[in-house]
Symmetry: C2
Amino acid sequence: MKQFTKQIKKGLLELVILKLLNDEDLYGYSLIQKVKEKSNNSLDIKDGTLYPILYRLEDSNMIESYWEQIDTTRSKPRKYYKITDNGKTGLNDMLDEYLEISKGINLILNSEVNNNDL
Amino acid sequence: MKQFTKQIKKGLLELVILKLLNDEDLYGYSLIQKVKEKSNNSLDIKDGTLYPILYRLEDSNMIESYWEQIDTTRSKPRKYYKITDNGKTGLNDMLDEYLEISKGINLILNSEVNNNDL
DNA sequence: ATAACTTACTTTGTATTACAAGGTATATTA
DNA sequence: TAATATACCTTGTAATACAAAGTAAGTTAT
């Protein structure tokens, strides 16, 4: 994958995952698909990326997990993740920060050439 | 500084700097001010961040530098940076990537709760 | 004058994080 | 029954924003 793409995503995946878990409980594998689907295939999280993020979020009490067997035809349960109240607060803070930075970046990227010397 | 803010910026500062140098030649210190000013104070690059980025961009032939003494009252020249043709191509590629990822992220962040189970 | 501040450039070390690449094991489909 | 998809996990690596430190010249206030 392109190095730049990797870098753009730094930190943002955590935000994206929190946002999705704010809507509904999901298990790891389904989160990967959800991210891909909801982003219109623009975002593709690797499993080796996702799981460490989930453990991080759990360690910081933003989310919590539980094993559950919903599908009775399956012998193995899945590990579901659920956002906590703490996580909801964190999500809002992160959204504010993201919007602020993102606005600043777009101000620069969308500006037309404006060379006063010419 | 907030850790999340740091992470959001990963990789994006390179893009922002290239974009500004695409408009006009600038020296390091003025770039810091330019970024702050043009982003409406949302972005504040530290000098310890900027200079390594400039050296990286120069190593990859995206920009080139020259010492110039424009202000005759100053004894010391400033090190100006100029975007190369290679850098212009790189900038366009990065802009495309950024827009793609950014679109995907916003699709997720702007989506309202849509829990089909309820 | 001189102390304090700003301008301007540089370097070293640290923390963080996305991913590649490897692994395990069950479930489904050809 | 072989291949593929599902589902989880771990280790090591590369990249990068920043803190913190330094050097040195220019400017401003007392």
